[in-house]
């Protein structure tokens, strides 16, 4: 009964999305107030039914209703409750429903938080979101209905893939999808503005907080995914340049470019065309990512049973959305105009360079991800493009970007002078060079790569502090009150930029000083890695809620002093019989130590992998700071008082030139 209710709710949501995608947009174009007024209630109704459908699926999983095919193939009566909940999005069908659920959430949020927007704009934005919802709802109902029944009803389910039975599964997909799907708002604003022919600074001010929010969630989602892969896959890496990772990274890169470009459009009215194109690209890449991961083109833990029908549908949808919006852009963009002029040396041009570099990076990731697929599709052979390619491309592209990150916030809008910038930044440059050369001596061994990485990180930190000092210079009032007076969006930027620095320190130290040893150990044997000594105390059998485990015991000492015990496990899941390695990790501020069990060699000996990963936690710390920076920027006062200000400023007048 409940699954049928869910199915019915999905159909109703589909019908409402048709209404939402047509009447309000036509109403806005033809100036029919009754039709434009439909946008909010219809959007809210659609969201309600999607939420009902989602609730029905969650319920089916929680009560282990194995008459639902989706539950039977992805859950099991022994599965702990939190993973039964997470298994809701553990399948292709379920994850599509999560996608639509997130889209409904964003649509609802826009319909509630848009009181200060003109009615026709709201109608267009919600209408575009309705069209996107329509595509996905239709896709679900036609090719991947999560409520399909299964007869006869099996006694038990096939279980969730053991790799997914992890707290990461509860957090990573929802966060990532919040981000992915959140770019649909910026996209809808861009399309709405193109349709309405009104693209100005006010438009940028409206879409900016939504973009920042989506970007922050995407940042967290990627961070959790990376952390999860690090501790669960048992080989200690944090980023593999796997196509599915790239699929989430490309929207992030373009989203980052969009954030910066929106700032220029809002403050200076420049880059309008460009910003619109970025908004379209960010969401398009989210769709491309969904296509890559969900269509079965790529095989990995993220992709499920391959069904050509699905791939074709998503591809067609992709073509319609991307092709349609680019065509609209081509027709309407020339009318928009490029906006105000600026000099070759100015904050605008530095931000433009930032955008170009980020897009070049995106392009290189896209090439490395899609080229093997193309060759394969055309039957020209199978190739793979691995981490060496991406490493070789990313370092040279990111280095100038990091340099600009220091200069950009100090440059004046419209016109800046290089001598001024040099005068401001020479000390920052000198300090970062000297410390970067010296610090590696303290951490052990001097390596050029480490020095270079630290230089980039210290440069960001030093330049950021110069920027803060510039803001409070020449002020009589107290330093603290002056600092407190800076807008939160400024502190958000500072935090996010410092997050990049922290991240770079993490990458540099891990790459420079990590040590890894695979050894055969008998009970009582010791091995030394990164200053720690590990003694193997043998393996015992353990029983988990839905698995059997062999648990290794290790005693860790440093300079003869006891530090702790570590217990890595090798698990065998009851339902599928699939083995899984659970590494034991001790995470610390200055790095991790990491032990995982390989295979038993003979009666007592095991092959064991031991790692020392200095500063690896800084990777995720840096990403967390970036996301926090985004959230902090959202708490800026002007977003709360934005309503009155928009009323005070008539449209067009805000073009701020």
């Amino acid at each position: 009964m409940i699954p049928e209710l869910g199915n019915f709710a999905l159909i109703l949501a589909l019908l409402l999305s048709v209404v939402l995608g047509t009447l309000p947009i036509v109403g806005a174009a033809r100036n029919i107030p009754a039709w434009t007024a439909l946008a909010r209630p219809v959007a809210q109704g659609m969201a309600l039914f999607v939420v009902v459908a989602w609730g029905c699926l969650v319920y089916s999983f929680m009560v282990s209703d194995f008459s639902v095919l989706n539950v039977a193939t992805n859950s099991n009566s022994q599965l702990p409750a939190q993973y039964r909940f997470a298994a809701t999005w553990g399948s292709h069908e379920g994850s599509m429903l999560l996608w639509v659920f997130m889209l409904a959430f964003w649509t609802l949020a826009v319909s509630l938080k848009s009181r200060h927007l003109p009615d026709d704009m709201v109608a267009r934005v919600l209408g575009v979101m309705g069209l996107v919802s329509f595509g996905f709802l239709l896709f679900m109902l036609l090719t991947s209905n999560p409520f399909d029944r299964l007869f006869p009803v099996p006694a038990d389910g096939r279980d969730l893939n053991p790799l997914l039975q992890d707290p990461g599964m509860v957090m990573h997909p929802p966060m990532l999808y919040m981000g992915y799907v959140g770019f649909s708002v910026a996209f809808a604003f861009a399309i709405g503005a193109l349709l309405g022919g009104r693209l100005d600074a006010t438009w940028a001010r409206w879409s900016r907080p939504w973009t920042t929010l989506a970007w922050s969630f995407l940042t967290i989602g990627i961070m959790i995914g990376s952390w999860w892969a690090y501790y669960t896959l048992g080989w200690g890496g944090w980023w593999f340049w796997d196509p599915v990772e790239n699929a989430s990274f490309m929207p992030w890169l373009v989203g980052t470019a969009l954030l910066h470009s929106l700032a220029v459009t809002e403050k200076r009215g420049a880059f309008k065309n460009w910003t619109v194109l970025l908004a379209i690209s960010a969401f398009s890449l989210s769709l491309v990512g969904t296509f890559l991961v969900r269509s079965g083109v790529l095989t990995s833990v993220h992709s499920f049973a391959t069904d050509p029908k699905r791939g074709v549908f998503i591809l067609a949808f992709l073509l319609v959305v991307i092709g349609g919006s680019l065509a609209l852009y081509a027709v309407r963009a020339p009318k928009v105009g490029i906006g105000s002029r600026f000099d070759l040396v100015s904050r605008e041009s530095l931000l433009l360079a930032n955008n170009v570099l980020l897009l070049a990076a995106t392009g290189s990731v896209l090439l490395g991800t899609l080229y093997p697929l193309f060759l394969d599709a055309l039957n020209l052979g199978k190739i793979s493009v691995g981490p060496p390619y991406f490493d070789a491309v990313f370092v040279p592209l990111m280095t100038p970007l990091v340099f600009l990150m220091g200069v950009g916030p100090l440059a004046r809008w419209k016109q800046a002078a290089i001598p001024d910038l040099w005068r401001l930044l020479r000390w920052a440059a000198a300090i970062s060079v000297v410390t970067a050369l010296l610090v590696p001596f303290l951490t052990g061994q001097w390596k050029p790569g480490v020095s270079f990485g630290l230089l980039l990180a210290f440069w960001i930190v030093a330049a950021t502090f110069v920027g803060i000092r510039e803001r409070v210079r020449n002020v009589r009032s107290g330093l603290w009150s002056q600092l407190a007076r800076q807008p939160r969006s400024y502190w958000g930027m500072v935090l996010a930029h410092l997050g990049i620095a922290v991240f770079i320190v993490g990458v540099t130290m891990v790459k420079g000083y990590e040590t890894e040893r695979d050894v055969k150990m008998n009970v009582g044997d010791t091995v030394s890695v990164g200053g720690y000594t590990f003694r193997f105390d043998g393996v015992t059998r353990q029983r988990g809620p839905n698995y059997q485990a062999q648990r290794g015991a290790f005693t860790v000492t440093k300079d003869g002093v006891y530090v702790e015990n570590l217990y890595p496990e090798k698990r065998q899941y009851n339902a599928g019989g699939m083995p899984m390695t659970n590494a034991a990790i001790d995470s610390g501020f200055f790095g991790d130590i990491y032990v995982s069990l390989g295979d038993p060699v003979d009666a007592t000996a095991w092959v064991v992998r031991v790692y020392s990963k200095p500063f690896v936690t800084w990777l995720w710390g840096g990403f967390t700071l970036m996301a926090l920076g985004g959230f902090l920027a959202l708490m800026d006062r002007r977003y709360r008082t934005g309503a009155q200000r928009d009323l005070a400023l008539p449209r067009g007048a805000a073009a701020a030139r």
């Binding site: 893939n161 790799l163 896959l233 048992g234 080989w235 095989t299 990995s300 833990v301 070759l344 360079a353 170009v356 570099l357 070049a360 392009g363 290189s364 090439l367 490395g368 080229y371 052979g381 199978k382 190739i383 793979s384 493009v385 691995g386 060496p388 390619y389 070789a392 491309v393 040279p396 592209l397 695979d518 050894v519 055969k520 599928g576 019989g577 699939m578 083995p579 899984m580 390695t581 995982s596 390989g598 295979d599 060699v601 000996a605 092959v607 992998r609």
Partner: protein, 154 residues
């Protein structure tokens, strides 16, 4: 500077940056592509010497052996028509099993033994690496391979 000059300067700078990026990307691309070969192709000497590539197929039954150091592992990869010996030092992925699909990356030694630097993990026990399935397909004709794939999935 006149507006037109400035525009030229902009376009020039843009082209230079993009050109540089493209050169960088293509160069890195060229030197880091990893090609895939089936055991039959390797036996027929079609695979390059001294350059890393991937081999895929099934782990031959009863071919897995471990040297006395406990770390060095030897096994054979087959596409059912030809067989290539592989040596790998390290820890195998959880789902590595005799009779199942596998993909290894590395170089072929002068002795004809494939020195694997990486044995790729699968994430799901029913999943067959596409390269491995492909290798078996090519060697065996589609019908037979379908059968293998089905047996594998059981």
């Amino acid at each position: 500077m006149k507006a037109r000059h400035r525009r030229f300067l902009w376009i020039g700078a843009g082209v230079a940056v993009l050109g540089g990026a493209a050169a960088l990307v293509l160069n890195a691309f060229q030197s880091n592509l990893v090609f895939f070969f089936t055991p039959s192709q390797i036996v027929a000497n079609e695979a390059p010497q001294g350059r890393a590539f991937r081999v895929g197929g099934l782990v031959e039954e009863k071919s897995l052996a471990r040297d006395s150091d406990g770390l060095t592992i030897r096994f054979k990869v087959t596409d059912t028509a030809a067989t290539v010996p592989v040596v790998y030092k390290g820890i195998l992925p959880d789902l590595f099993k005799e009779g199942k699909g596998v993909v290894a990356q590395g170089k072929i030694g002068p002795d004809g033994v494939f020195q694997a630097s990486e044995v790729l993990a699968k994430h799901d026990e029913n999943y067959m690496p596409p390269e491995a399935a492909d290798a078996v397909n090519k060697a065996h004709g589609a019908a037979a391979a379908e059968k293998t794939a089905k047996t594998l999935q059981r």
